[in-house]
């Protein structure tokens, strides 16, 4: 299991990187390499050129400004996991990171790499979808920003053109005190999830829902927002019945089927995990939920 030969390029800045992507054929961007190198070892991926963006310092960093958490594409999952800013402003991301691979892969893996790889069972793309992230993209032709809903177009497929790379991700922050929940089911710790759900809730003083966001992953070709569940919750008083009704919307998905789980089982997991994520979110927003039904 060795990769096929390729030429290696190590640009020192973004301009060099986009120049290489514009001029080379059959080229892949190497960020953390935790998915790409495995696929190259299997020769699922045979690239003629690798552009290693690990030396482009401007692509790493975490900052909060204008109600958004902006993360450089090359920022390591480890640095997100241990970031006080992430934990304070975007606690669901902090929680989700505990489920991303293992310590050894989080030390190398990056957020931009996870987005560009677009595995349907990956945690970071669904977090971007949940937080209405904008993806910043660069090429020699210029830069553009794209909502996550448009970026993930299908199974391990993004809207990136071959000469483009992700440079940063901006997650829209929710107000302090919002509730959050993240649930996934995997056969073993660190395995890809068979299904997972993430939820955010903003609750008014009378315990009615001001705003809800619910997203699923591992169940379809790319992460899914449950718009029907969100709309159903808005304005409702939060209790177990309201949460159960919203979670039932998870059954509307058209799940993947593979050797690990059939469609019916994934639909069941999606509903249960959505309910649990919403219960966690409600409780963290300060609402007491009677949970004996879960």
């Amino acid at each position: 299991m060795k990769p096929a030969p390729f030429d290696y390029h190590a640009p020192r800045n973004l301009e060099e990187a986009t120049g290489l992507l514009a001029s080379l054929e059959n080229v892949k961007v190497l960020a953390g390499g935790q998915s790409l190198v495995a696929m190259m070892n299997f020769r699922y991926v045979i690239a003629d050129h690798l552009v290693d963006i690990g030396g482009v310092a401007a692509l790493s960093g975490i900052g909060v400004a204008d109600g958004a958490l902006r993360i450089g594409a090359m920022t390591r999952q480890r640095d997100l996991e241990f970031s006080a800013e992430v934990k304070r402003h975007c606690p669901v991301l902090h929680e989700a990171l505990q489920h991303v691979g293992h310590r050894q892969t989080r030390n190398r893996g990056t957020i931009g790499g996870s987005l560009a790889h677009a595995d349907p069972a990956a945690e970071l793309p669904v977090l971007c979808l949940l937080h209405d992230a904008e993806i910043e993209i660069a090429s020699r032709r210029g830069t553009r920003r794209m909502p996550m809903r448009e970026f993930a177009v299908g199974f391990m497929t993004t809207a990136l053109e071959p000469d483009e790379l992700v440079t940063a991700i901006s997650l829209k922050l929710w107000p302090a005190g919002h509730g959050y929940g993240f649930q996934e089911f995997a056969r073993r710790r660190g395995d890809f999830a068979l299904a997972g759900a993430a939820a955010l809730l903003e609750v008014a003083p009378d315990q009615s829902v001001r705003r809800a966001a619910v997203a699923l992953f591992g169940v379809a070709a790319s992460p899914v927002r449950l718009d029907a569940a969100e709309n159903g919750l808005r304005g409702k008083r939060l209790d177990m019945a309201a949460i159960a009704t919203a979670a039932a919307e998870a059954r509307s998905i058209e799940p993947l089927e593979d050797i690990h789980a059939g469609a019916d089982y994934r639909r069941h997991l999606a509903q249960v995990l959505t309910r649990r994520a919403l219960v966690d979110a409600a409780q963290r927003a300060g609402v007491t939920i009677e949970t004996k039904q879960t």
């Binding site: 299991m1 060795k2 990769p3 096929a4 030969p5 390729f6 030429d7 290696y8 190590a10 190497l30 390499g33 935790q34 190198v37 495995a38 190259m40 070892n41 299997f42 690798l50 290693d52 690990g54 480890r78 691979g101 293992h102 310590r103 050894q104 892969t105 030390n107 190398r108 073993r188 710790r189 660190g190």
Partner: protein, 160 residues
């Protein structure tokens, strides 16, 4: 396919080699430097046997190309024991707690735990099991390695 110059330090010693870009850090350590303590199990990032420290952080050397380690510090299992062969605290704890049987996964476990115990002086069993989830072992059922890690943490605290 052009060759690339790779200069790095491994266990404090400087090395320089010319290698193809497709050579993983694991194969570089084993074949170019003769440091065969780093084992290759799955070669696709699942088993953790090839774990080394790259600038002090555990990493799978089968998912890192040697060219990416250019200019960096690598630590491998060969660097753990004293020059006279005396085992370090973690290695001795593995020996005393039946932390290994066949020993194939042990170098990876030791390197994972070297980083972990450096950063976590008083871990719980849950913490240890969580960090070892990235290292597969087909012999021990993990009871021995977990006990060894907790014992090593205790010994390190007592020695501190």
């Amino acid at each position: 396919m052009s060759k690339h110059s790779v200069s790095l330090t491994v266990n404090g010693k400087a090395y320089q080699r010319e290698v193809e870009a497709r050579i993983t850090l694991a194969d570089f350590l084993r074949h170019e430097l003769g440091l065969t303590g780093t084992h290759l199990g799955c070669e696709h990032g699942v088993c953790g046997a090839c774990t080394v420290l790259l600038d002090g952080h555990s990493a799978r050397s089968c998912l890192t190309f040697a060219v990416q380690a250019n200019g960096r510090e690598v630590s491998t299992v060969e660097g753990l024991a004293a020059p006279d062969g005396e085992l370090n605290v973690l290695q001795q704890a593995f020996r005393d707690n039946h932390g290994l049987q066949c020993g194939f996964c042990t170098p990876g476990m030791l390197m994972t735990l070297t980083e972990f115990l450096r950063d976590n002086k008083n871990p719980t069993e849950h913490d240890v099991r969580d960090v070892l989830s990235g290292n597969l072992c087909r012999c021990t059922g993990y009871a021995g390695p977990v006990a060894a890690a907790l014992d090593a943490a205790r010994r390190m605290r007592e020695n501190a």
